[in-house]
């Protein structure tokens, strides 16, 4: 993939064999929250550095001047390097980004290079002032550093249970499939009353349209019957 492969459609890149892949762009909300976590952590790291330097200079018997001198240099390096170093070491992620499932990628969806990660973080002092507004206004949610570096921030969550359906009644379309998947995926998180109500309606629908598809007879809780019917592959 190179820059010439960029699709004119915003946030969509042409991957291998020209297959379009829409990048799941992270918007201003999750990015600001991730940044907030990182800045709080940076303060903590600076505190640890200060206490550590104080203890270390006492332990090594350094003159106070040298201890303060090293502290100043370290604090400066942390201030400018905290984000960039983490993103370089952890493939475009900082602790805050990890918490919110975000990752910095190149404009074409590839892993961002070290140069790009350095550039986007060296203009952070300007982005602290204008970044939020720029992210809110830009269709690709880029701050100034992203524009300069040619990067985007995307959602990249860990894998979760997406495939919950192993068999379907014949002739079922996408809408019905989505309905069943959505219910089975969310059933454990729903309020008990809502789970029962939705489950009964779905059970009725399946029994009407595909009699005999669900095993057994309706019981007080439709979830086990639906689960067994859609989840279990039968030879």
């Amino acid at each position: 993939m190179n820059h010439d492969d960029l699709s004119p459609e915003l946030g969509t890149v042409l991957s291998l064999d020209n297959v379009p892949v829409e990048l799941p762009l992270a918007r201003v909300g999750s990015r600001v929250l991730a940044g907030l976590i990182d800045y709080i952590l940076l303060l903590f790291v600076l505190l640890v550095w200060s206490v550590g330097m104080l203890s270390l200079s006492g332990w090594l018997g350094l003159r106070p001047g040298w201890g303060i001198g090293f502290w100043v240099l370290g604090a400066f390096a942390l201030d400018y390097g905290y984000f960039a170093v983490q993103e370089i070491v952890f493939d475009g992620r900082t602790v805050g980004k990890r918490v919110f499932g975000l990752r910095v990628v190149a404009r074409d969806g590839a892993a961002a290079g070290n140069g790009a990660l350095l550039v986007r973080n060296l203009v952070r002092s300007i982005d602290v002032i204008f970044g939020v507004l720029l992210m809110a206004l830009d269709p690709l949610a880029r701050r100034l550093g992203d524009r300069l570096a040619g990067t985007l921030v995307v959602h990249q969550r860990q894998s979760h249970e997406e495939l919950v359906v192993a068999r379907l009644p014949s002739g079922w379309g996408t809408a019905e499939t989505q309905l069943v998947e959505s219910y089975l995926r969310r059933a454990r998180e729903l309020e008990p009353a809502a789970r029962l109500e939705l489950g009964r309606r779905l059970e009725r629908l399946v029994d009407e349209r595909a009699p005999g598809f669900l095993p057994g007879a309706p019981g007080p809780d439709p979830l086990p019957r639906l689960w067994n019917g859609f989840r279990q592959e039968r030879g």
Partner: protein, 326 residues
């Protein structure tokens, strides 16, 4: 093919691709492994395209979309050359500075003009002295003392060297990053520092102390200003890329210009550590004669400029307005 059959047939491939692509982040894969993973990525992409068209919004389509993005970040990486510190300082950095020479020229010209202006204003307008240096420092000058003497008397040089180095690096970073504001930040640093330095020399000249100030700055000042103006020039290069329309879209030209400017910045930053020590330990020292400080100042400047000058000799500066440069 119906949805359930599609999932049943292809799911083992998706599972194995996800497992190996995630593992590829944590360890280096051999060429054969990468090639095999890329082959599976192709299949995943085709499944993704098919699921998006046939089963939009379903669990399979969602998962394949996630895998398509994952594969892109694992298997594709921006082109980057292998880093070598020798090659960086003797080839990449001089070449990047060479590409920025016209913009560095702009920064130097603005610095000199504003410096002259600052000097003239300070000489002919006494009120500027207090505004520039503050009443305490002006009082010191009246008594025949430079404020720089306090660098060694009130703060140990080990501390002041760190503060000086980080402060100068901050100025250089501001000059560089200021390019992102269409070059305005870089222009501001060049003009403001020129005016301030001119005004300070003007004020000390009024109190007949310019010679003493010159003796203080000669060892470190020449290279320090050079570095700041080089970074400002690099920043102006970014600003120009943001403003100028060309054959390629800005999404291509701006990152290229920023990468070149980054090379310039990283070639300059280490020097500030050395200059911080020179400014704190040697510049205020009464035991080091003026001619030695002068010699040190020129030696540092020559050390910095030599690799760039050698690069200039090998390859001429591009014609204005930077034809053929990023």
């Amino acid at each position: 093919m119906d949805y359930a059959r599609f999932v049943a047939l292809r799911r083992p491939l998706w599972d194995s691709f996800e497992r190996d692509a995630t593992a590829a982040r944590r360890r280096d894969f051999s060429y054969a492994e990468v090639e095999e993973l890329a082959l599976r990525y192709r299949q995943v992409l085709h499944d993704h395209a098919w699921a998006r068209a046939r089963f939009p919004g379903t669990g399979a389509a969602q998962r394949l979309h996630r895998l398509a993005v994952l594969g892109g970040t694992v298997l594709q990486r921006e082109d980057e050359e292998r880093f070598s510190i020798v090659r960086f300082f003797f080839e990449r950095f001089p070449a990047a500075v060479r590409a920025s020479v016209p913009w560095i020229g702009v920064a130097v010209a603005l610095f000199l003009v504003s410096g002259l202006l600052g000097w003239a204003v300070a000489v002919y307008e006494p009120g500027v002295a207090v505004a520039t240096l503050g009443p305490d420092r002006v009082e010191d000058l009246r008594r025949g003392h430079l404020w720089t003497e306090s660098l060694t008397t009130t703060v140990p040089p080990s501390i002041s060297s760190s503060f000086i180095a980080t402060n100068n690096m901050s100025v250089a970073l501001t000059a560089w990053a200021g390019g992102a504001l269409a070059g305005l930040g870089s222009l501001w640093v060049a003009i403001f520092n020129g005016f301030l330095l001119g005004a300070i020399f003007g004020v000390t000249a009024r109190f007949s102390m310019a010679g003493e100030l010159g003796e203080f700055v000669v060892a470190h000042g020449l290279l320090e200003l050079t570095l700041i103006l080089v970074c400002a020039g690099a920043g102006l290069g970014i600003g120009a890329a943001l403003l100028r329309a060309g054959d390629l879209p800005r999404s291509v030209t701006v990152p290229r210009a920023a990468r070149e400017a980054l090379v310039v910045l990283f070639g300059c930053l280490p020097w500030f550590l050395l200059l911080g020590m020179v400014e704190a330990f040697l510049s205020p020292s009464p035991h080091l004669a003026f001619h030695w400080k002068l010699l040190l100042g020129f030696a540092l400047e020559i050390c910095f400029l030599t690799p760039i000058a050698l690069g200039l000799l090998r390859q001429p500066v591009p014609a204005w307005p930077l034809e053929g440069t990023p």
